[in-house]
């Protein structure tokens, strides 16, 4: 059974169904959209159950010729990491639809268009993680920009057009760098046994270290823009500020993961030597991202921008974990990707509810919400605790794994990165204090607390955050084999304890 194709087709069917629905019946449109995403989520979970944990090979593999004359295949397959990310994406999609029930109103286009875009985006989110043909990956990678562009530019707030264009240009710039590298790979593959875009085949290419370095940079810059790594991050705060909360969740929670996922899937696999060459630089950038993002987050006055900067800090952790080249770092980074999706989703969704109720995203406009809207305040607090990686929250496990994994090989980087956890306390607690604590500021007296729909939407997110905080094994068991495999392929093994032990 072609599980992955099925997963990709299901949202498309939903979007086609939406397309034939009348534009006026917005409620029906939303219900169909929710139903579609729920079906996809169910299908993904059903697929995940069938995943063989200890098998390091790609699973659910499909391969059909697409453009045979160029050796381009429609090839899909998942390893543990991709599975986890697809799972995250498909769980987030219904949450976003349900949580942002009303955010599609007031856009440039109809409500129907909004959900069609969301569903099309979901198809691509699945495809981008599942693609094993480099060309297919590239096509989806770039095609994803289109629905997001329209989601930001058409349904956002503030300077949404400018933000959307900035996002698009940044991403396109990176994408074109990657395209150049992909073409170079294709050409080289022709000289070494037949033109192909197959990831596994391309990873066997022989190339000089100079070539490898250049091609690596092409891929890496694309991913570093996506994942936003300092100093390529400035599109993210603008985009997050302007986008609707639901879009922001998909943007930061899923799309940006393509960057870190790509670093693992493509940079490490295709260019192992170049990855090692650039590791010192990347680690420094990652550490800068962690500290820089955190400090910038502290200095923000706008709630959405603040969350965006916390994400830059978190992406620094993920990148650090990836390039630490230890199984703890890798597994931590992979788990971090999953957890970050949910903790950012929680922050953005609750923040979005706060903003839509108050009509302002400036933090100082809030105040005393704890007394007026206790449930919403608690949810924001919990989301914040997840973001600062409080033990007991899922993000703690991943963050600590990244730090421990990094420390065993790069102690200095890990030590500096650890200062990020103090800054995290500041960037979460300052908005918590300003928005939730203190006396009620004028204009906030009549805000309503979360309604049932919102509670239903946020509950699974919170449940996942807390349950995985105490019991991350289901995910770690899926990720670990892939981690060990990748690290071993790169010729690394975990540093042994310096003084024996055990």
């Amino acid at each position: 059974m072609n599980w992955l194709t099925l997963l990709m087709v299901l949202p498309l069917i939903g979007s086609v169904a939406l397309a034939v629905l009348p534009k006026e019946n917005e409620k029906l449109v939303k219900q169909v959209a929710l139903a579609s995403t729920l079906v996809v989520m169910g299908a993904t979970i059903a697929m995940a159950v069938g995943f063989q944990r200890d098998n390091i090979e790609l699973q659910f593999v499909e391969k059909y010729a697409w453009i045979p004359s160029f050796g381009i295949n429609y090839a899909l397959g998942v390893d543990g990491l991709a599975l986890v990310l697809i799972l995250m994406s498909t769980i987030l999609a219904p949450v976003v639809v349900l949580a942002g029930w009303n955010e599609s109103q007031g856009g440039r286009w109809s409500v129907k268009t909004f959900y069609i875009l969301i569903l099309v985006l979901e198809t691509m989110m699945i495809g981008v993680f599942a693609a094993t043909d480099v060309f297919l990956f590239y096509v989806i990678f770039e095609a994803m920009l289109i629905p997001v562009y329209f989601l930001i530019g058409g349904y956002g707030s503030g300077e949404r057009s400018a933000a959307a264009v900035k996002f698009l240009i940044y991403s396109l710039f990176g994408g074109l760098m990657m395209l150049a590298s992909i073409i170079a790979l294709y050409v080289m593959s022709g000289a070494q046994g037949g033109h192909t875009f197959d990831l596994a085949a391309l990873s066997q290419l022989q190339m000089s270290s100079m070539t490898q370095n250049l091609l690596f940079l092409g891929f890496f810059i694309a991913f570093a823009i996506k994942a936003p790594l300092w100093p390529l991050h400035t599109w993210l705060p603008d985009a997050a500020e302007s986008a609707t909360p639901g879009t922001s969740v998909l943007l930061l929670g899923v799309l940006d993961k393509v960057g870190t996922f790509g670093m693992i899937r493509y940079c490490l696999t295709l260019f192992p030597d170049a990855s090692k060459t650039f590791t010192p630089v990347i680690l420094v950038l990652a550490v800068i991202s962690i500290i820089y993002g955190a400090i910038l987050a502290i200095g923000q006055r706008d709630l959405k921008r603040l969350i965006a900067f916390t994400s830059i800090s978190h992406f620094g952790f993920i990148t650090l974990g990836i390039f630490a080249m230890t199984s703890q770092g890798y597994s931590g980074a992979a788990l971090y990707m999953f957890n970050h999706g949910f903790s950012t989703a929680a922050l953005f969704l609750v923040g979005g509810w706060m903003i839509s109720r108050r009509g302002s995203s400036t933090i100082s406009d809030f105040g005393g919400l704890q007394r007026i809207t206790p449930v919403m305040a608690w949810m924001f607090f919990l989301a914040g605790m997840s973001s600062l990686a409080l033990p007991g929250m899922s993000s703690f496990v991943s963050e600590f794994l990244v730090l421990v994994g990094t420390f065993t090989r790069y102690p200095v980087h890990a030590v500096i990165a650890t200062f990020g956890i103090v800054l995290a306390a500041l960037y979460i607690l300052i908005p918590v204090q300003k928005a939730l604590h203190g006396p009620t500021t004028p204009g906030n007296e009549n805000l309503s607390d979360l309604n049932l729909r919102e509670k239903i939407a946020i509950a699974p997110v919170m449940a996942i955050i807390i349950v995985l905080g105490f019991y991350p094994a289901p995910l770690l068991n899926v990720i670990n084999p892939a981690a060990t495999h990748v690290i071993a392929q790169l010729g690394f093994s975990d540093p042994a304890p310096t003084s024996g032990g055990k």
Partner: protein
């Protein structure tokens, strides 16, 4: 090691209580406090049951573990969620659940008028669960979960009345400073894993023998940083005074009896590291000694009764840290002082709460006076605690504090003499400021505000105070009689044998009592003979001014960390927009600018195009000219 299946209930019961109360919301307003108290009490009884089991076993069989599930397992980094109860943790379990339950009972009445009482109890239960996890975790990482868990509970409880901005700030300050300490713990765990490949207590203990001293010193120092954060030790002590923003029962439970002593637990638990890392151990002693004096000096100048007690707590924990830093002989005495302190300081805090309860939540001692007649029970229990903290025989403090002073003197060499003198001096200052608190609060003339109508607290409040007072009186004797506690704990520590005695116990006790007498006498002269002003006098010496400002700790932090940090943040925010994003926008502007500049060429006049063609032709020919040269 023996396994048990019932350890988890110690934590699960209060945790469940917390979860139920928080999730049920206002529906549980009526019965929430009762449920929380009952669950805390049942956890205490589980603890007692475990103690009875433990006593029934031989020394080496006493520790029990319970593996709950595999928590994190990546490569060689394998952490089980498992609990371990040994002789050390059972002391804490009983202290936490025992004092905790008493404070639950006290709070039922104390918080009865607060609309959010249910939430308060939920947090208290959450704290109990986290603190139990802290002392029951069998690895540093499990401990870390509890460690931050109590930080969270402390944050929530300090900021319980967070509608007041100052209180909200206090809670944030506590959390952030604790996080700095937590960072130390993170570092310790990372170093331990990198050098030993394990972070469980048993694993590290085993590996400590063949690990380099440098690594052990690193771990030790980082553990000390963690301890200074959580236990409000120098230099991370500044949050404790502000933490008094929380309701008084919280101050009693968290910021006096239990959470702040977690640092002592951590150092004692990590004895195998400190024993092998003398440098770290020396630092522990230094930190303890500094904080001891620091807290005591602040205590002499505070007019806020809770802040005076908080300063005293800081000072007393300094004693414990100092004791723990003295090595194998000191651990048990540190723990003993911790336990007795838990009784008398919790009792005194509850007493302070009782006074506040009767005085319209007034905390300024200068507005008290002559409360003895109106609050006899409070006076009696507070007084017993007072005698205990002074170290007057046969009260609890006498046994525990004198042991630490004695051990300090006997730790050998100049270090011993210095430490001994510091601890003695500390005892004297303690006597001074505690006497000051007693005199200002309970004796002399009344200096109340007009609307104050002091009255004794209801029985739900004084009963826990009374029980704690009994503990203050008896616990010292019970724990030290026949070296009960020392023998109980001895299997955990490496015994280095007896050291030469510098001063005999009798001499030390005599000296200590003399210092205490001097301190009491000065306080009497200063505060009992003279009138006490209801408003704090301003024409005081520079030393008093500095002490009133907590020895400038906040000013120091603000000047050295906060303001530069804020400046850095502001600069970076501007830089990000101007430089990094500016560069990006600059590229856009260059493209736009060159576009509009080149647009000028497109005049629409054929002749200007012709001129351009001519120029192009000239350029082309010039190129040919150059190339063919």
């Amino acid at each position: 090691m023996m396994t048990s299946t019932s350890l988890v209930y110690l934590i699960a019961l209060p945790l469940a209580g917390s979860a139920i109360l928080l999730l049920a919301g206002r529906r549980s307003d009526k019965w929430g406090h009762l449920l929380a108290t009952a669950l805390s009490a049942s956890s205490f009884f589980v603890g007692l049951y475990q103690l009875s089991l433990m006593v029934g076993r031989t020394n080496s069989d006493r520790p029990v573990t319970q593996k709950l599930f595999e928590w994190i397992s990546v490569g060689t980094f394998k952490i089980d969620a498992s609990l371990m109860l040994d002789q050390l943790s059972i002391c804490f379990v009983l202290l936490i659940t025992g004092v905790g339950t008493l404070i639950h009972i006290y709070s039922i009445s104390y918080m009865s008028h607060d609309p959010d009482r249910r939430r308060f109890f939920a947090f208290l239960n959450l704290f109990i669960a986290a603190m139990l996890l802290l002392v029951l975790g069998d690895s540093y990482l499990n401990l870390y979960v509890g460690w931050e868990g109590v930080g969270l509970a402390s944050y929530l409880l300090i900021g319980f009345w967070n509608q007041k901005p100052a209180y909200a700030t206090a809670s944030k300050k506590a959390f952030v400073m604790n996080r700095i300490g937590d960072m130390g713990l993170s570092f310790a765990i990372m170093i331990a894993f990198a050098t030993m490949g394990t972070v469980s207590f048993s694993g590290v203990k085993e590996a400590a023998g063949h690990t380099s001293t440098a690594a052990l010193t690193g771990i030790g120092i980082m553990l000390l940083v963690a301890a200074t954060g959580k236990s409000a030790q120098f230099p991370l002590q500044a949050w404790l005074g502000d933490a008094m923003a929380g309701p008084t029962p919280v101050s009693a439970l968290i910021h006096a009896a239990t959470m702040v002593t977690a640092g002592v637990y951590l150092i004692t638990r990590s004895n195998f590291i400190f024993d092998a890392a003398p440098t770290a151990q020396l630092l522990v002693v230094i930190v303890g000694a500094i904080t001891l004096m620091f807290g005591a000096l602040i205590g002499t100048a505070k007019d806020d009764i809770k802040k005076a007690l908080a300063a005293s707590t800081m000072s007393q924990i300094g004693y414990m840290i100092l004791g723990a830093g003295l090595g194998p002989v000191g651990y048990a005495f540190a723990i003993m002082h911790l336990l007795t302190h838990g009784f008398f300081k919790a009792g005194m805090f509850l007493g302070a709460g009782s006074v506040m309860h009767g005085m319209n939540d007034e905390v300024n001692m200068r507005k008290y006076g002559a409360l003895r007649k109106f609050m006899p029970i409070t006076f009696a229990t507070f007084g017993l605690g007072y005698l205990a903290i002074l170290g007057v025989p046969p009260f609890a403090g006498f046994y525990s504090k004198d042991m630490i002073i004695e051990t300090a003197f006997n730790s050998g060499g100049a270090k011993g003499i210095i430490l001994g003198c510091v601890t003695l001096l500390g005892a004297g200052i303690t006597a001074f400021y505690m006497t000051r608190v007693m005199i200002l609060t309970f004796t002399g003339k009344s200096r109340w505000d007009e609307e104050a109508h002091p009255h004794e607290s209801p029985w739900l409040m004084w009963l826990p105070m009374a029980i704690l007072a009994i503990g203050s009186v008896t616990s010292g004797y019970l724990l030290s009689h026949g070296d009960t506690l020392v023998n109980w704990l001895s299997p955990l520590f490496v015994n280095h044998g007896e050291r030469a005695e510098l001063l005999s116990p009798v001499v030390v006790s005599g000296l200590a009592l003399a210092m205490v007498a001097i301190g009491v006498a000065i306080a009497f002269v200063k505060y009992s003979r003279n009138e006490v002003a209801a408003v704090a006098p301003t024409d005081v010496s520079i030393f008093t001014t500095i002490a009133r400002q907590d020895l400038l700790q906040d000013r120091f932090n603000e000047a050295v960390f906060m303001q530069p940090g804020q400046a850095l943040t502001a600069v970076l925010v501007k830089t990000d927009e101007a430089v990094i994003d500016g560069a990006v926008r600059g590229v856009g502007r260059i493209a736009l600018g060159s576009g509009s500049a080149l647009r000028g060429i497109q005049t629409g006049f054929v002749r200007s195009y012709a001129a351009l063609i001519l120029i192009g032709a000239v350029a082309l020919i010039a190129a040919i000219w150059v190339v063919t040269q």
